[in-house]
């Protein structure tokens, strides 16, 4: 239940981050769907940081601590959907190119 809630947040924020950066890239005449390793790593880090900021803003760290969730586990919950999303995007784009 905890995993579902926080992985869900990670997925939402990854999507939002991708969308926001994609729009900015479009304006800068850059590739909005850049899936290079460096870019994907950047999105994973950015999503994890955004999730951490959201969790801190909502003051959820004590609740999560009381649930026995460590900071490392929480970071994994946040990074997981971003990693999965980036991998899927890369697979989808390479299939599209072929």
């Amino acid at each position: 239940m905890i995993v579902r809630a926080y992985v869900g947040r990670g997925a939402r924020l990854w999507l939002l981050t991708r969308l926001a950066v994609g729009i900015v890239a479009l304006f800068g005449q850059l590739n909005p769907l850049d899936v290079s390793t460096r870019s994907s790593f950047g999105f994973v880090v950015l999503t994890t940081l955004a999730c951490a900021a959201e969790t801190t803003r909502r003051r959820e760290l004590v609740l999560l601590g009381n649930l026995g969730v460590s900071h490392a586990q929480l970071a994994a919950f946040f990074a997981l959907p971003a990693i999965a999303g980036e991998s899927l995007l890369r697979i989808a784009l390479s299939a599209f190119v072929q």
């Binding site: 959820e60 609740l63 999560l64 649930l67």
Partner: protein
């Protein structure tokens, strides 16, 4: 009665300011212990260190028979600690029911229905916590404690923003929780209410703590009267 949690000889400084120079905190099975102290004397810091929320500069925390030089909050929580912070516990992102379910499922806890019934918050189950009043929030948090069934409960100023009538109800709830064998430690300034409910009083002042014993002994302590009780003496005498 056995010692569940002990934070011993704790020191803590924030930059140049030394908040705790040699403070201790103990939680004993079945007892409601109250920590009094003026604002800024280190009560919250001490309770956070005991819960593993912040690291002490020196000292050790013993919990459930294990000694920790650098206790981690989530480790202690897994072993049976529950910490109520001096701000709202629940997230505004989920309903009260969902958060109680998270606690219940994570620890194979007690029944949510029974807990909310006991705390009189059944009507608030499907509301987001930020729509509740201070008193309702505190009662919902205590329902979470009942669902969790911890071995030790540390509550930092749980009576803040609560009307006197609600404070009495909360104090009764803390007493009931302690009577089920939970080691309870509460901080606060609601002297008459807390003295009536407490089994033991600890005074936190000038970076150290004094174990004053049961409330009847504590109120006779002259230094405690001078240094903390002051204006409350009349209400206690009554």
């Amino acid at each position: 009665m056995s010692l569940v949690l002990a934070a011993e000889c704790v020191t803590k400084s924030f930059r140049e300011r030394r908040v705790l120079s040699s403070a201790s905190l103990r939680a004993v099975t079945g007892q409601l212990r109250v920590v009094f102290g003026r604002n800024g004397e280190g009560k919250s810091t001490l309770i956070k260190i005991a819960a593993g929320r912040i690291a002490a500069d020196s000292g050790a925390v013993h919990f459930d028979g294990h000694a920790y030089l650098t206790p981690r909050f989530h480790q202690l929580a897994e072993r049976g600690l529950f910490y109520l912070p001096d701000h709202d516990l629940f997230s505004s992102a989920f309903t009260v029911r969902r958060q109680l379910e998270m606690i219940g499922r994570q620890f194979d806890g007690g029944l949510i229905e029974a807990a909310v019934e006991r705390m009189g918050v059944r009507d608030h189950l499907d509301r987001p916590p930020h729509k509740l009043s201070g008193g309702e929030l505190r009662r919902v948090e205590l329902a979470a404690v009942i669902v969790r069934r911890p071995r030790c409960l540390l509550a930092d100023e749980p009576f803040r923003g609560v009307a006197p009538a609600d404070a009495e109800r909360l104090a009764d709830a803390f007493r009931q929780i302690a009577s089920t064998g939970v080691a309870v430690v509460v901080t606060g300034h609601e002297v008459p209410t807390l003295l009536e409910a407490a089994d033991h009083v600890t005074w936190c002042t000038s970076g150290t703590t004094y174990e004053l014993g049961p409330p009847s002994s504590a109120v006779r302590d002259e230094a405690f009267q001078r240094g903390y009780l002051g204006p409350y003496l009349h209400s206690i005498a009554r």
